[in-house]
Symmetry: D2
Subunit: 338 residues, 4 copies
């Protein structure tokens, strides 16, 4: 942390600023010129409250030098985290993780059918929503617990681990027992109560980026989970909100690069929600792998036209099969494999 004092600050103001910094255990470096006084913190400045420093009299500006996240920070954990999501199945290593499945669980036939198809095409895990976050209270909200049961049946049938979204803290216990990867949706990325509790769960968490979350905020949300003791966090880029309306969101592939540089956590990409358009999914998947993503999460529906939600962004099992072949080729170019 670097603090610039206001020109003409008093001695008392300077002392107070220094004191405030020292309280957090850092060493304060003082640099006084004829007009300017600069204070630098040496040591772990993460404990200094920037907002508080900014409110001090005589302080012109407070600039953070180090990142506010620790456990998620690659500085203190240089190697890539490889997260196990099922016995022998991981994400973050050489092998990519591809998760596929419908927006919502709709029926046993549907979910086991799609599960089998995507497995045959090479998917390693099944996605499917039982509890759906919908903008409208009048839209289909998911099958709930019945949907979770059907996901388990699909798992029994295919052996695919199950990734599904948790919306209520009340359901954490059940999810921790019956689900393989617990997804936190974009709209809950800063539901801090939920994050804290997931820090205590012994299951990997797929943390989607918020609709307009900065990379730093996203890593801070991961930090909430890590700080609670759960080290199995998988990040998921799913597009951010911009002024552009052609696509549902704007897929931010440079965020994948940024996150991989700043953090050791694995990052997967969701091209289906990012674009909202089925015809874009294949190409965006290839781009994501070329950029360095550790995996993909893709909406696949056996009958997109009849899907209860997100039909327009779901691809068919056949299209998914073609996509997997191409993903494999791109992966080989960048030292990865499917």
């Amino acid at each position: 942390m670097v603090i610039i004092m206001k020109p003409g600050h008093t001695r008392k103001e300077l002392d107070r600023a220094i004191q405030e910094m020292e309280k957090s255990g850092v060493n304060v470096m003082i640099s006084r010129g004829s007009e300017t006084t600069i204070l630098g913190a040496e040591g772990n400045a993460a404990g200094i409250d920037m907002e508080k420093m900014e409110a001090l009299p005589g302080v012109e500006r407070v600039m953070r030098v180090s990142e506010p996240y620790k456990k998620a920070n690659r500085k203190y954990h240089p190697d890539d985290s490889v997260v196990e999501i099922a016995p022998g199945m991981t994400v973050g290593g050489k092998k990519l993780l591809v998760v596929a499945g419908p927006c919502s669980v709709e029926s046993e036939a549907q979910i086991t059918g799609v599960a089998q198809s995507v497995k045959d095409a090479g998917a390693q895990a099944l996605r499917g929503g039982a509890f759906k976050p919908r903008t409208s209270p009048y839209a289909f909200q998911g099958m709930g617990y019945a949907g979770l049961d059907l996901l388990e049946k699909a798992r029994v049938h295919t052996g695919l681990p199950v990734v599904t979204e948790l919306m209520s803290t009340d359901d954490i216990g059940y999810f921790a027992e019956h689900v393989d990867v617990i997804q936190v949706g974009a709209r809950n990325m800063q539901n801090f109560d939920l994050l804290k509790r997931l820090g205590k769960v012994d299951k990997p968490i797929l943390l989607k980026r918020g609709l307009s979350a900065t990379i730093e905020e996203w890593l801070m949300s991961a930090e909430y989970i890590l700080a609670g003791g759960n080290e199995r966090v998988i990040l998921c880029e799913r597009g951010v909100r911009t002024f552009e309306s052609f696509t549902r969101n704007t897929l931010d592939l440079s965020a994948v690069l940024a996150v991989k540089k700043q953090s050791h956590l694995p990052v997967v990409v969701d091209p289906s929600h990012a674009s909202g358009q089925a015809w874009m999914v294949e190409r965006l998947s290839l781009a994501a792998i070329a950029a360095g993503a550790d995996g993909l999460i893709i909406e696949v529906h056996n009958d997109p036209v009849r899907a209860l939600c997100d039909g327009q962004q779901s691809i068919t099992p056949d299209q998914f099969g073609t996509l997997m072949v191409k993903v494999g080729q791109i992966a080989a170019c960048v030292g990865r494999e499917v």
Copy 2:
């Protein structure tokens, strides 16, 4: 809802689209030209799933004509909603509601002191956080239940009703008993689980606009609460996220106008969080009232420099006193009163 069919669509595709619309009980108007076919829904189209229609073969484009919110819609509730927050105290009528208080409850002396000061200056309600949504898991998270106790003491002391943020569904019961207005923070605006439960609570809800929520999404979140049976929703504009970094957020006063036109719900403005800078609060408050806001929620701290959070955006009780006088003058110009 209006649907444009693709040029060259088949008869079967057209029939299917019509059928799908009729399922929702609307009357379908068909308009066929030599190249173009347009379908219009007459009646309540809110039940038609746009995404599903978009995924149908032969459909080029689906355009919504009516708003997706009903209970929040001024069309079906032309008069302004006047929400009572304490016996005889309302928001949404001629009289403005001004809520003031510190970011966080810190101690009994602090909260009762600030409460008394803002009351003396004309505030009608007290704000203060006991549970604080913080980006960092290492930042001060609020005093929790002890903070709620102190808020109640401040209420006993001053008579001011208390507005405070709820972060966990577990606490709903306690809040419903001990708090006057339950605040939903920006980061929880689309925490649908929380919204649904607040629909069952007999307390007014102050619903902050999400960090980058559209006006429609904001009203849909209000709709979740209203649909549950709780009609006492107060909206709060607190700035949206843009590329500009001079201010913490960008206060969107045209949203106040838009919401008042589209909905009957009262809207208050939070200039403290919107700007993040104490020196901007007075002028933005005046602008908000001039624009037509029904009230203000303002951070006031007796000692901003020592505040445990948000010191840089808190004004002092003295500054708040001056602000109230000026707000009164502007209010008079636009037919309102403090």
Copy 3:
């Protein structure tokens, strides 16, 4: 400017960074701790190229402390600039400047008619486009020179000075002779060639904020004009682009406050383009004045329905009359007058 060196930087890298800073004539303050080295520039750091410093080996981070604009900076020009736009008519002082008129000049009857109406209602200057920046090459592009002639006729008829947009550097000479205030549109805010030439013109320039320009970029564009020698720059806030689509743009009234704090230049607000909706214009005008704007620029058309452009955001002369009365009342509350 503050520079943080990378941990483990070499002596040579440090020397080079210091040298590079000293080249620009600043005094370099060096602060070395056991792990951290911080360099601070004392003196005018505006000449140091941040990007260049960032590219130096051993440099971790470069942070600017002072603003990159000089002539536009209130630090070096503490008093408000009062810009004269016609003999005895100014903007930036106690008296507000209200400019009104149609989107486009359409005919002599139209422009003189509107000019007379807005003058009667209290407007001090006339706006009207002769050269129109249109997104589509097929849309009405303005009457061109014939339109300028009609504006001059309206000026003769009413005495109102004329504000109109310049689009081509070829026309600068003509504008400098025949127009009272030369407007630079939002889309040309960073047309640096145009800005440089306007620095050599002896006419006030109304510089609109770019569609998604930061406050700093906007002031830097003003700096281009000021640096050329033309000190009569008037800034115009007209909304920025966000994800919200209810309004055409999002009016940013905190930008008015920010600019007035950072700069001495006058700022006016254009509520018509900001909102794109006639019914919002009055309230946003009141809010702008309450926030501290030095004036307004408003689209008024005698027959909005028949307007060749922007009819949906134009108010009628009668509505403008009502608006002026209310603006006067709000102005009085904040120590201004119309």
Copy 4:
């Protein structure tokens, strides 16, 4: 175009709306239900002024169905445009176009050196700025005409065609004679005066996307050039402005897909300006090609640390060589070649 009339509109209002549409030569389809009246335009609705229609009394809402661009529209030009930039060298076909070179021309040794290096590594064209758009009037503005001379020397030396930015309409004649591809920078994307003139020039135009331009606006700017008669337009995606500050801009690769679907024009990607960070350039280049871009434009400098601008985002010739090999591999996966 589809128009929804207000409930309770009058017969006269309806007639007027129909008349207004018919004026533009379209056939109007009228669909009247018991509460709703919908008007649909059949034929070319591009000539109907949406804004004008919106301002008509009795009109509730105007929705465009077809795109406002014609010559840039793939509907009327289904095959990809292949643009020749030098004898035998094209962009838009199977072979990718890779343009490389420094931000600015600095000296003969620098530009011919870089030109030779990038040619050796496989670049087909040379970029380099002689006129530089700089946010600050005090920053290096480019060598101007002397820089153009050096670019020509580099062309003579290496045979590489030259891509460079035009900033002033005064220079169009000179550029048309001495430059191979004329670049329009992001800040001039809606400098309509410049676009119109480039429509009359017999040279290919590289049109960068504006800082926060929608895809539609970008294609409309291309339309200005095409409408003038110059059919050789190459689009360049270079990132858009969002709230994220880790990268300079947010690269929008779905825009590449969208543009290729809506238009026949070739699209190249500039990963250097999009990210602002040299270490991101390789991976974003691979992602761009995987997504379907027709080429790349990359900043390469022999000595990034000493570069007069953009050093932090320039890669070295060696890094460029490695990048080209990898780009070739990815290209092969998606049916393209370098």
